[in-house]
């Protein structure tokens, strides 16, 4: 890993810069720190930061951009007729990358010299066999144009890495020399360092924007690819979800949306009444002792990882429901309504349990924010406590509670592990909660795990699903925040 070494050298340079800069500043002030404009360590920090930060930034940008540039250049080299029928340029490029990687490994293991790797011709030697010997298995024999592209890929990558190392080293040394040269007792080191740190703080804060942009762009890009391969009318308005890896899939989001909404609905039917009543009891009735005991215990439910709930749904709740609603004569109810442990009800119930503390602690905060004067007024008029809660506190807290429910709904829609393990894998429109159905998140997981081929609509559809999920949850969250903000001001 030469990049790691490069980073280590940069760090060493910057540490050295700290001490050299500090001592140079002190020397220019005849060893008396009082003659300096800033504290001595600021001069050191100035040199250290100027050597490290720009160089690291260039390194990071280079590492991000180089693969993209090399990819475009190499894929331009591959002639249109070299792309066989039924595949795409993307697939050929992944072959190219794999061969290039194999050549790198072969050179690293000493199976061939760098010279041989550059001049290897598929016409004269069995490249597949050669690479197989060093542990890189190839699906088919290497075609000459792929080989040439792979060699070009290697050359470009290697040249790129060499140039990168030189540029980064130059920038680091340049920054070092420039700031070291500026180090003098009258130099305003503190101001410069503080500006630098401020820039770093702003960059750190902007990372949130970058992440959002990354999420949206990565999904938009692949979704666009998906819609070039698959008709968008089928995706949005079709009625069947039937991925078929031989092609000809029907990929419609509607059955998945139905499953998602059904599971979320059951989860909310469980979580909202329980959570709301728990919150009302805790904030209006419970003694301080009960509250300090029950509230943290309930909140443990929110801290349990979702994989635990998933296993609970698959191995405990599902079989228990089957004992109730299935097994025919042997079952508790003696009916044969449910065959497998996975069903909408299984996932919905367990997800509801998970969401109880989510609803209850949000509503608790909101109910507590209702001014005491309103309660006192109602109680003073002779209303009982429950009448006060129902007719005064809840209406006053309603916008907040609606917000909390919407947030819980967005959690339920985006929840993955419980539905992956508890809801099943069959996409269909059905109103029977005892049947297995599938959700958006489940399909994302199943389309993107295992062997993924980024040129087939069956894989790419996951990105379209992900984007839909992102838009849905984002919409719910924005709506929830809007409702809460709009009505909160009434009592502040």
């Amino acid at each position: 890993m030469p990049t790691i070494w490069l980073v280590l050298v940069l760090i060493a340079l910057s540490v050295a810069g700290f001490f050299l800069g500090r001592s140079r500043a002190l020397a220019s002030a005849n060893g008396n720190p009082k003659n300096l404009h800033s504290l001595p360590s600021y001069y050191g920090h100035n040199v250290a930061l100027s050597a490290l930060v720009p160089a690291l930034a260039i390194l990071a940008a280079w590492l991000l951009l180089q693969p993209m540039l090399v990819d475009t250049r190499v894929s331009n080299m591959i002639p249109q007729e070299a792309v066989p029928e039924g595949t795409t340029l993307g697939l050929v490029m992944s072959d190219v990358r794999r061969v290039a990687e194999g050549l790198d490994i072969a050179v690293a293991q000493g199976a061939m010299t760098a010279e041989q790797a550059r001049n290897l011709r598929t016409e004269f030697s069995d490249v597949r066999g050669l690479l197989g010997e060093v542990g890189v298995a190839l699906g088919a024999d290497v075609r000459p144009e792929v080989m040439r592209a792979a060699q070009a890929y290697r050359t470009m990558s290697n040249t790129g890495t060499t140039i990168m190392t030189i540029v980064v080293a130059l920038v680091a040394v340049g920054g070092f020399a420039w700031s070291y040269g500026r180090t003098h007792k009258d130099f305003r080191a503190r101001n410069v360092v503080e500006q630098g740190i401020m820039a770093l703080l702003i960059i750190a804060a902007s990372l949130a924007i970058l992440t959002t942009v990354g999420i949206v762009l990565s999904m938009l890009f692949e979704t666009r690819n998906f819609f070039t391969l698959h008709s968008w009318t089928d995706f949005f308005f079709g009625g069947t979800w039937a991925p078929n890896f031989r092609g000809d899939s029907e990929l419609s989001i509607l059955p998945l949306l139905w499953g998602t909404f059904y599971v979320s609905l059951i989860a909310l039917l469980v979580a909202v009444p329980l959570g709301l009543f728990a919150a009302i009891y805790l904030s209006e009735y419970a003694s301080a002792a009960t509250r300090s005991f029950a509230k943290p215990l309930l909140e443990i439910l929110a801290g349990i990882p979702t994989i635990v709930y998933g296993l609970f749904a698959l191995l405990t709740v599902g079989p228990a429901l089957v004992r109730f609603f299935g097994q025919g004569e042997d079952g508790i109810l003696g009916v044969e309504w449910m065959t497998g442990a996975t069903s909408v009800l299984t996932a919905g119930l367990v997800m509801g349990i998970m969401l109880i503390p989510f609803v209850s602690s949000l509503s608790d905060d909101i109910i507590n924010a209702v001014p005491q004067a309103m309660r006192d007024g109602s109680l003073g008029l002779g209303a009982t406590k429950s009448e006060t809660v129902r007719q005064v506190v809840i209406p006053a807290a309603l916008p907040g509670i609606v917000g909390a429910v919407l947030l819980a709904a967005s959690r339920a829609i985006g929840e993955t592990m419980i539905v992956v393990m508890g809801a099943g894998a069959i996409a269909k429109f059905s109103a029977n909660p005892l049947e297995a159905m599938t959700t958006i998140t489940t399909r994302i997981v199943s389309q993107l795990t295992g062997d993924t081929d980024f040129a087939s609509p069956e894989t790419l559809v996951a990105f379209a699903l992900g984007l839909t999920l992102f838009v849905l949850t984002l919409g719910l969250n924005v709506l929830a925040l809007y409702i809460v903000r709009k009505y909160r001001e009434q009592y502040d």
């Binding site: 503190r190 804060a205 924007i209 959002t212 406590k385 993107l448 949850t473 984002l474």
Partner: protein
């Protein structure tokens, strides 16, 4: 002021008191209202009781089903390491010994079982091959490993503790009974009879199983040999990445937003983004990781480094939100005092505010890490399931870059294998995961209690 008794009862008073009724006796309406009050209160108690009951059910299920994974059935056997089978040349050349595959060790184990059964005088209709069937498929590999590392022992008789196969283990744990194995081709009733006799003779026994905590995953056929150790290391490396990235970036972002950010559109956009990212489903971060880190940047898939990066992005909002809260809790007088004695704003923040907020930041970070430790969905997308990480990484670089699993991903993998023996291990894995989470959260609570400062 008019006398109250003189005002006539107004018409809209719903239920005028009947003549002659005592004030001490409750009217029907009051009774109804009181009953409604009691009911309402009962709903509240009921809701909390259901919640707590669910917690109780969850916890008891986990412990009753998972505790078995920490015990394992072993068979103690004296094995004669026959020179004629293991080292035909007789010159103890390690390369020759390595040429004998686990297949070549099977007859030796078979012989050892038969000798033991005959020595104990147990009467069984089974052939030697079926008798050895109560042992794990792992036994031959254990034996071979021992012989390869101790070639000088060839020819001696050595005592071994072999893993019993998962059905036998289940029989001792009550998971498998003679009724349940009617259609099971992995074990027969006669083999269970043999196991019963061997239990009598203290040859088969159930003991604490360290290999479950420290060992590596095993293939589908050997649930008795599977352990959490390697995936724990995978989780550890991911957490190191998260800590190294999320803590500095999160603290820097919070300092900017809380202490320096002007009220402008950029700040607004950042704030909106952070609060939205906190609510984005975790699987979306997995898609981001797959598309950006693996597909575009060509980082190795299944590597803890990629997992760590994805979880960093996911935890950042949590850490930023809690860090901002603890920065906000430091009173302005501290900043004013620092500015008053001539510190710059940057100095007042880094020398005074940040140290005072540190316990709060630490608490938030630990809670964020605990959340990341239990997260599964994004790890499925970046490929941390579906393979068997059999060896612990040998260096930090390989720990970060070579394929590994993580604790929750390993549990999911076991749950998928649809074998009661693996289910038991999945529950056991959950116990280990929860022990980590409880420890981290307790640490956070203690830190908060210990260092919380009231201003």
């Amino acid at each position: 002021m008019t006398d109250l008794s003189q005002t006539p009862a107004s018409g809209d008073t719903p239920m005028p008191k009947k003549q002659g009724q005592s004030l001490l006796e409750l009217s029907d309406r009051t009774k109804r209202r009181n009953a409604a009050e009691t009911r309402f209160k009962a709903y509240g108690i009921g809701a909390i009781a259901i919640g707590l009951l669910m917690l109780l059910v969850l916890v008891t299920t986990i412990f009753s089903k998972g505790i078995g994974a920490f015990q394992q059935t072993f068979v103690t056997l004296q094995v004669e390491l026959l020179e004629s089978k293991l080292d035909k040349t007789g010159n103890r050349d390690i390369d020759d010994i390595k040429k004998v595959t686990t297949f070549g060790y099977a007859p030796i184990i078979r012989g050892a079982v038969e000798t033991k059964v005959n020595a104990l005088g147990i009467d069984t209709p089974l052939k030697a091959k079926d008798m050895a069937g109560i042992l794990s498929k792992d036994a031959a590999a254990t034996l071979r490993e021992y012989v390869v590392s101790h070639p000088d022992q060839i020819g001696e008789t050595v005592e071994f503790r072999f893993l019993a196969q998962s059905r036998v283990d289940g029989y001792l744990k009550g998971r498998v009974s003679r009724d349940s194995i009617a259609n099971d081709k992995n074990i027969s009733a006669a083999q269970l009879d043999l196991v019963d006799a061997l239990i009598e003779a203290d040859v088969v026994e159930k003991t604490f199983n360290m290999a479950f905590i420290l060992g590596s995953d095993a293939s589908d056929a050997r649930p008795e040999a599977a352990g959490m150790g390697v995936s724990m290391l995978g989780s550890l490396f991911m957490m190191l990445v998260v800590l190294a990235l999320a803590l500095p970036i999160g603290v820097a972002a919070s300092i900017y937003l809380e202490e320096f950010a002007p009220q402008n559109w950029l700040t607004d956009i950042i704030e909106v983004n952070i609060s939205n990212l906190a609510a984005v489903p975790s699987i979306v971060f997995g898609i981001l990781g797959l598309a950006v880190f693996i597909n575009y940047m060509h980082l190795p898939s299944s590597a803890p480094l990629v997992g760590g990066l994805v979880l960093t992005l996911m935890t950042l909002p949590t850490i930023i939100i809690s860090t901002r809260a603890s920065l906000k809790a430091v009173p302005p007088s501290i900043r004013d005092a620092a500015l008053g004695v001539g510190a710059s704003r940057m100095q007042s923040v880094f020398h005074h505010v940040l140290p005072l907020a540190a316990p709060g930041i630490l608490t938030g970070t630990i809670i964020g890490l605990a959340q990341a430790l239990g997260e599964t969905a994004p790890l499925l997308l970046i490929g941390m399931v579906g393979f068997i990480a059999s060896n612990a990484p040998d260096s930090i670089a390989s720990g970060l870059l070579s394929p590994n699993s993580a604790m929750p991903a390993q549990i999911y993998e076991w749950a998928k294998r649809a074998d009661p023996a693996f289910y038991e291990r999945a529950w056991g894995g959950i116990i280990i995961l929860l022990v980590f989470l409880i420890t981290m959260n307790t640490l956070a609570v203690i830190l908060r209690r210990r260092f919380e400062r009231r201003w």
